[in-house]
């Protein structure tokens, strides 16, 4: 049974290229991807997770305001009784940060996994398979998706 993941760029961030690539890679790996696009609010993430009975939420942020944009996100998920893996990835701090510190900061905020901007799509796929107990046979992956970019 395909797992459903919610994908989007949080806050007022408009960097769409990363999630476009992720969408294609996750879809090709057999996930049902609900791509909310850029400039997605916390509420939209939560609503989509509920509406699609999602297995995981993947938040992307490139522009440096991730911390402000994600404040209270996990409380919101909890108050909607959503208990599922949450990933965040991209350029998570403004400037030339110390990555370990940044990673810990977002873990403390409640994210299950934190990815930097060097992350290859395959790493996200591997992590999801692990966290969602996707078996090897399930991992076969479907056919390459059509060429259209979904935004």
């Amino acid at each position: 049974m395909p797992r459903t993941v919610i994908l989007g760029v949080i806050g007022s961030d408009a960097h769409v290229v990363g999630i476009t690539i992720l969408d294609q890679a996750l879809s090709a790996a057999g996930f049902d991807v609900v791509n909310l696009g850029v400039q997605t609010s916390q509420a939209e993430f939560v609503d989509a997770a509920k509406a699609h009975d999602a297995d995981a939420v993947l938040v992307s942020s490139l522009y440096g305001h991730a911390e402000q944009d994600c404040r209270g996100f996990h409380d919101r998920l909890a108050s909607d009784s959503l208990d599922l893996p949450t990933y965040i990835g991209g350029n998570l701090a403004v400037g030339q940060d110390d990555w370990d510190e940044t990673r810990r900061r977002f873990e403390r905020m409640g994210f299950t996994r934190v990815f930097d901007s060097e992350t290859e799509p395959q790493e996200a796929i591997d992590a999801l398979c692990l966290d969602l107990d996707v078996s090897a046979t399930e991992r076969e992956g479907s056919e390459p998706q059509s060429i259209r970019v979904t935004t």
């Binding site: 408009a14 960097h15 400039q39 935004t151």
Partner: protein, 478 residues
């Protein structure tokens, strides 16, 4: 219904009035007093004057931090240690969303903690006096660079604050920067900005306007970038803008980049009214950078070399830290100096590269086709034509996050690394042009022994950050 007509003075006034309550600093804006203030600025701080009288490419970095003192320090460093010719002030993302309260929070936080958690300078919050202090304390001409779909208040405050150049436009600051802003609305909002610019110009303050040429920065076919730049130029000219800088972002192929910059200048001069002075700006590679400063320096250098061959009026530089995040001021200055070294070593060499004319002709032909479709879709009205063109996909931008664009166009590189179009959607390009793109891409597909697919596009998106130009096949998902 928005039409490509000049706003009347009363409309301009009405809109300006309506914005005065958006943030307290708006109250201080006084047009006549501001015109006088501009008059007090010395020649070397007049942006249009410096840019239009230059005899070789001027360098300008991007830079913006929340606090005023720090911004002065940053720009002074870029001037002195980087040798910048023109200065920027990059605006933070909250201001771009007109969320001045959030920007204020970020600014207050920065002031208290000493840490910059805003990704730019919140000019509206700093207000007219803050901007003027900045303009006075920095050593050169200075431009507002942002990404704000509704930049009306930002323009009011920063123009009153002494800035004489303003980046952006209704398409280029909507399509790549937002999801759900209506294009009709952004056109109206930019008519205000351009009309305000026009009014200043009529009163002797020649404010420079610069449509954002690179769009999504990611494999944008030159013809699309140029067509959109010219459309924004036309809309601006209607409102009285006289100093216009059309932009283009490096794709990394020397021949295509030089050809595109020449086509940009040629079409700009052809399509825009004679009394508009057209200059060009070349942006160093705007897509994903290598996660390695040494390789990033290579990318920047290729930008510098291209600029030396193409001789745009201005070059926007990148820093070796582009991949990681907002650069330190030292890295930013380093990007300037690396670029300068390439330009200064190459510019007197007078290098002539083969095949540029042919590529330029192809770009012009395609851009013309797009431009003509805008005009005809609008029955002669560029504003209406723009709306129809984006609705129908006759004009489209690859990787556009905006719902106002079809987002059906997909680019890929050909076997020489020139950006071609793989998926056209409804793009207003005739079959002959499409065939040329297809032939080029088929040749590449053949070289690689694979079909054209999204995977090829994804490989091209990653290629430069992976250390090359063309995304040749590698292992991984297909």
């Amino acid at each position: 219904m928005v039409r490509d007509e000049q706003l009347t003075e009363s409309e301009l006034g009405r809109i300006a009035e309506s914005l005065r309550d958006d943030w307290p600093t708006a109250q201080a804006v006084d047009f006549e007093e501001s015109v006088e203030y501009h008059g007090s600025l010395p020649d070397e701080k007049r942006f249009a004057h410096v840019l239009e009288s230059a005899d070789k490419p001027l360098l300008q970095p991007r830079a913006g931090v929340p606090r005023l003192d720090k911004q002065v320090e940053l720009l002074t460093h870029l001037w002195e240690e980087g040798g910048a010719d023109l200065l920027p002030t990059t605006i933070d993302s909250y201001t771009r969303d007109n969320e001045y309260a959030k920007a204020q929070e970020g600014l207050d936080e920065a002031r208290e903690s000493g840490e910059d958690t805003l990704n730019g300078f919140p000019a509206v919050n700093h207000g007219v006096d803050g901007c003027r202090e900045l303009v006075e304390r920095v050593p050169g001409p200075i431009e507002v660079r942002h990404g704000t779909p509704d930049a009306r208040l930002l323009a009011m405050v920063t123009f009153a604050g002494g800035f004489q150049s303003f980046e952006g436009g209704p398409i280029s600051y909507n399509i790549p920067y937002t999801k759900s802003r209506s294009l009709a609305e952004t056109i109206e909002h930019w008519q205000f900005v351009d009309r305000l610019t026009g009014l200043y110009t009529e009163f002797g303050v020649r404010i420079n306007r610069e449509p954002f040429g690179p769009l999504t920065g990611t494999l944008v076919p030159p013809s699309i970038a140029i067509a959109i730049g010219v459309v924004e130029g036309l809309l601006a000219a209607t409102q009285g803008v006289k100093s216009l800088t059309l932009g283009y972002g490096q794709v990394g192929n020397l021949v295509q980049d030089v050809a595109a910059l020449r086509a940009l200048r040629a079409l700009g001069e052809e399509y825009l009214p004679d009394d508009v002075t057209v200059t060009t700006v070349f942006h160093e590679w705007m897509g994903g950078f290598p996660p390695d400063e040494a390789r990033a320096n290579g990318v920047i250098s290729l930008g510098g070399a291209t600029a030396a061959f193409a001789r745009p009026d201005k070059v926007i530089t990148k820093s070796p830290q582009e991949f990681r995040g907002v650069p330190t001021m030292e890295a930013n200055a380093a990007g300037l100096r690396t670029t300068r070294q390439l330009i200064d070593m190459l510019i007197e060499q007078d290098v002539t590269i083969d095949g540029i004319d042919e590529e330029q002709a192809f770009i012009e032909r395609s851009a013309r086709s797009l431009l003509d479709s805008v005009v005809s879709l609008g029955d002669g009205d560029v504003a209406q034509g723009t709306l129809r063109a984006f609705e129908t996909g006759a004009l489209d931008v690859p990787f556009a996050p905006s719902q106002s664009a079809k987002g059906a166009v997909l680019p890929a590189r050909d076997d020489k690394g020139r950006v071609r179009i793989l998926e056209f959607g409804e793009l207003a390009l005739d079959d002959e042009i499409r065939e040329i793109h297809r032939t080029h891409l088929d040749a590449r597909a053949k070289t690689e022994g694979r079909a054209c697919s999204f995977r090829m596009v994804a490989d091209d998106v990653d290629a430069i950050s992976d250390g090359r130009l063309i995304g040749r096949p590698k292992e991984g998902w297909t």
